[in-house]
């Protein structure tokens, strides 16, 4: 009777008792994106972008209303705490909210100014919410971001996530920050963090399927600037160029695009270079009581477009291009750095590096690091090499000019 007894006992317990944790798929509200606002009544307003599966997938024989139904539905609840607000949804929703497939959390600037600690705590504490959601900030109402439909990608939450990933990979100015990375940054030695911004460019908002029928949408979701958080609260913004500079310093640049002028004396940007690889090393250097930030960037790239009159087979021309790009990188990095210094926000991780390299010094400077940071000079070295010039050997302008001669 070796197998029968325990098997029978097990099965009988299991059958007699019933099942508690079971949730059928059609009892779930699959949330693709969440938004957190802070309203005038001093309450958290949490909005959910819920996917309607039958509108998207159109399974066999179950087409209900087909293309005219919107793929998502957005609704909001409010409460004194974030989880309290989420619980309020049970009054409205026929199904249980399911957050495991949540891709992005959009936080309104107002909520960010109050501080993101409650949000992070709620995410890390619950097993249902994933710590890998991307966090974004918006100056408009976060709920309106959720309501906006997107081109190509049916579920806007997924779309925002993918846009962020693509930008991260190809332009690297705005980093994708997920919840646990945010916690990591805020708990680092400097207690500062950066979050990308999302906004709706254009009016009116595209919120139903009718408007999606046109070939060109009046308004779109767009990534914007970079938000800087100090001690968990929104402190300021960095423009895209400045954000790129900060990204260089944080060694987060995978690939980006630099536009440079032909000569230092001409301001117009005529050349476009794709940076294929950039490695940055930043080191704090201490002389007595003075700290300097030593940064060294080694990058290489490909020439994409140039309107300068150049014969690229001459090494002199290449050197000239490289030096212009180098200058431009230096400008970008310096502008980013000084922007952070103006905000007195150390977002590049200098505090961690000082902590690691000079632990004793760190304990002294830690209390007013923010002010100290604002005064640390930047010693920047950039090396840029043009590895490939593409398929043409001369710029078209030069060729054109020669023909005319």
């Amino acid at each position: 009777m070796k197998l029968v007894k325990p098997a029978a006992a097990l099965l009988s317990i299991v059958l007699l008792a019933g099942c508690w944790d079971r949730l059928e798929l059609n009892e779930l509200s699959i949330t693709a994106a969440t938004a957190v606002d802070w309203d005038e009544k001093q309450q958290w307003v949490v909005s959910y972008q819920v996917v309607i599966p039958s509108a998207i997938s159109g399974a066999m024989g179950n087409m209900k209303g087909g293309a005219s139904q919107s793929p998502i539905i957005v609704y909001s609840t409010h409460g004194p705490t974030i989880r309290g607000a989420i619980q309020q949804s049970t009054f409205e929703s026929p199904r249980k909210l399911f957050f495991s497939h949540n891709r992005v959390v959009v936080v309104s600037a107002e909520a960010a100014r109050r501080g993101l600690e409650p949000l992070i705590d709620s995410y890390l504490r619950n097993s249902e919410s994933r710590e890998t959601v991307d966090v974004l900030v918006t100056e408009e109402s976060a709920r309106s971001i959720l309501r906006q439909l997107m081109q190509i990608q049916t579920i806007p939450g997924e779309g925002i996530y993918e846009t962020l990933r693509t930008e991260n990979r190809l332009f690297s100015a705005l980093p994708s920050v997920n919840m646990y990375e945010l916690a990591l940054q805020l708990l680092g030695s400097s207690h500062n963090a950066v979050i990308p911004e999302i906004l709706i460019s254009g009016t009116p908002e595209v919120t139903n399927n009718q408007m999606m029928g046109n070939t060109s949408l009046p308004s779109k979701l767009r990534l914007g600037r970079l938000a800087v958080l100090k001690e968990g609260k929104l402190a300021g913004w960095l423009s895209q160029d400045e954000a790129l500079g900060v990204a260089f310093l944080r060694n987060k640049v995978e690939r980006t695009n630099i536009s440079a002028p032909c000569k230092a004396t001409e301001p117009t940007l005529e050349t476009s270079v794709r940076v294929e690889r950039a490695d940055t090393k930043i080191t704090p250097v201490r002389r007595g009581d003075e700290l300097t930030l030593q940064a060294r960037i080694v990058a290489n790239g490909t020439l994409l477009e140039t309107n300068c009159s150049l014969d690229l087979e001459e090494s002199e021309a290449l050197r000239q291009l490289e030096s212009q790009v180098r200058q431009r990188i230096i400008e970008v990095v310096r502008s980013g750095y000084s922007a952070t210094q103006q905000l007195q926000a150390d977002v590049i991780g200098l505090a961690d590096r000082v902590h690691r390299k000079y632990p004793k010094l760190w304990h002294e400077v830690e209390p007013d690091w923010a002010a100290r940071y604002a005064q640390i000079p930047l010693n920047l070295q950039v090396e840029f090499t043009l590895k490939r010039v593409g398929l043409s050997t001369k710029s078209f302008k030069k060729q054109f000019g020669q023909e005319e001669d």
């Binding site: 070796k2 099965l11 798929l25 779930l28 699959i30 066999m60 024989g61 179950n62």
Partner: protein, 542 residues
């Protein structure tokens, strides 16, 4: 056998020393003696007729001498004898000799008759003497021809066993693309001959016994001395002799009586319809049990991994064999766990699904009335019904209906909104995966366990599945087949035996036999047999 109930008190009970055994190694199973034969022919014939209830296929041919006196009788049961043999080898010679001898005399005495018979008139290979009525009846019923002579209490039983038999044909189950296409038949002699034709070694031992009170089924134990373990052979002998039952009609009966563990869905004895598989098993140290009336020969002891090996693995190249073996293992798990995994993941752990898949599944589930477990059970039971029906249907319509039935039924169910399309895919893939397992008895285990797993999955999700898998694992690791742990060579781990488990090592690497099954003499190949072109001397660039 025992206690036929006939006591003829005026006959003395003879002891068994008078019996001679013909042939090598064949023992006849007999109970303690029954009544002896009388000296009078008529009395014997009457006794025989009475025993068999005057059955109409009992044929008695009286042999008279020229004067018409009945000298002897040839008795056989029509249909189970080879009629030609009786005529040519038995009746003709006897009649001739009788005619010769009695041409000079008026009558032949009993002694003459007996001398005639003993002198080799009967031109058959195996002739036995018997003094005993019950033994005689036994021989008669197994197809021998009995020659009784008047005035002598000795009867001769000549082996003329025959009757219609199926010819050696392709096995109906366990077919292969490459490999021998002979399959066992129902006749035990033919089967043993098929084995003997493959193993021409003097180490082969064949031990017969009769099982089944009424069926007296010949059961042969075949093994190789010195390669199979003595303890195992002894254990098998012991278990077989414990069987006391009315009938043994198929090897499955024997299997159920001698298996190690009753309460397990997993088979502990292997069976095969293919002589090459059985011969391979015997050569590795297993013991074969051939049962008359069944083309399925048993092999013991067996381990879990053997059920995933097909004979074809050894005839094709090792790379494809390895690949297919991995597929079989995976299919076993699929056929056992796929529906339960589907239920568990879609009702308890939806976060594991990638988002597009989740949305697609959710869309399919809209409007489906049943929870996932009921859906799964419905479809699984439907498929089992279809499968069983496919077995019984006449050959012509069978495949068509089962395919059409499956597809149409599934399709219609989805369109009616009864089940979701994903469930149909899951259930049909499970059924197909079940067919990949080469041994039917193992496939049946997977089929049964599947349902228990589904119940566990529906109540406790992946925790339930893990509990079920744990129970099975504990059970499998503690199971033994004739003293050999079932999960060898995985647990206990024997690395040298692993070369035939998940992969099929090339032949030139398999130098030793599996250590758990065979004895110490395990080398079966000379070393250094790796093939290759001959090493050229002095040729450059090669």
């Amino acid at each position: 056998m025992r206690g036929l109930g006939i006591r003829l008190p005026f006959l003395k009970r003879r002891d068994h020393s008078g019996r001679r055994n013909g042939g090598g190694g064949n023992g006849g199973g007999r109970g303690p003696g029954g009544p002896s034969l009388s000296r009078q022919l008529q009395a014997n014939l009457n006794a025989i007729r009475r025993e068999l209830g005057d059955s109409s296929d009992l044929t008695i041919r009286l042999i008279r001498d020229d004067s018409g006196r009945v000298l002897a009788a040839v008795v056989y049961i029509d249909g189970i004898v080879i009629f030609d043999t009786i005529n040519q080898m038995l009746l003709s010679p006897i009649m001739e000799r009788v005619h010769e001898l009695s041409s000079g005399r008026s009558s032949l005495s009993a002694a003459d008759m007996r001398a005639l018979l003993e002198a080799g008139t009967i031109q058959l290979g195996r002739v036995r003497e018997t003094y005993d009525l019950s033994h005689l009846i036994e021989e008669l019923l197994t197809g021998s021809t009995i020659i009784l002579s008047d005035g002598s209490s000795v009867a001769f039983a000549a082996a003329t066993r025959g009757g219609e038999k199926r010819s050696v044909d392709e096995p109906s189950s366990q077919t292969v693309a490459r490999g021998p296409k002979e399959g066992f038949t129902e006749d035990v002699q033919t089967n043993i001959s098929l084995i003997r034709r493959r193993i021409k070694s003097p180490l082969i031992r064949v031990e017969n016994r009769l099982l089944g009170k009424h069926t007296k089924t010949v059961t042969s134990v075949v093994y190789m001395k010195g390669i199979a373990r003595e303890e195992v052979v002894e254990e098998i002998r012991r278990r077989l002799s414990r069987i006391e039952v009315d009938s043994i009609l198929e090897s499955g009966y024997v299997e159920e009586f001698i298996q190690d563990e009753v309460w397990t869905p997993f088979p502990t004895i292997q069976n095969s319809e293919r002589p090459d598989a059985i011969a391979a098993g015997i050569l590795e140290g297993q013991v074969a049990i051939v049962v008359d009336g069944s083309p399925f020969v048993l092999l013991a002891p067996v381990t879990f991994v053997k059920f995933f090996q097909s004979s074809e693995d050894y005839y094709q190249r090792f790379d494809i064999a390895t690949f297919l073996r991995v597929i079989r293992m995976v299919s076993f798990f699929i056929s056992m766990l796929l529906p339960s995994l589907y239920i568990a993941i879609t009702t308890f752990h939806q976060e594991m699904l990638p988002t597009p898949l989740l949305i697609s599944l959710a869309a399919q589930r809209e409007g489906v009335p049943f929870p996932a477990l009921i859906e799964a059970m419905l479809m699984e039971v439907t498929f089992e019904v279809l499968r069983e029906a496919g077995v019984r249907m006449p050959r012509i319509i069978g495949p068509a209906i089962s395919i059409v039935g499956a597809l149409v039924l599934g399709q219609a169910a989805v369109q009616a909104g009864l089940v979701s399309a994903a469930m149909i895919i899951v259930v049909s893939f499970t059924a197909i995966a079940n067919f990949v397992i080469p041994a039917l008895n193992m496939a049946i285990a997977a089929r049964l366990i599947r349902f228990a797993m589904m119940l566990l999955a529906a109540t406790l999700g992946l925790f339930g599945i893990m509990s079920g898998v744990m129970i099975l694992l504990i059970h499998l690791v503690s199971l033994k087949s004739f003293g050999v742990p079932y999960m060898t060579p995985l647990a206990p781990l024997k690395i040298s035996n692993l070369k035939d488990v998940l992969v099929r090592a090339p032949w030139w690497l398999m130098k030793t036999r599996p250590s758990v099954i065979s004895t110490e003499d395990r080398v079966r190949q000379a070393p250094g047999l790796k093939p290759g072109p001959p090493k050229d001397r002095g040729e450059r660039g090669s």
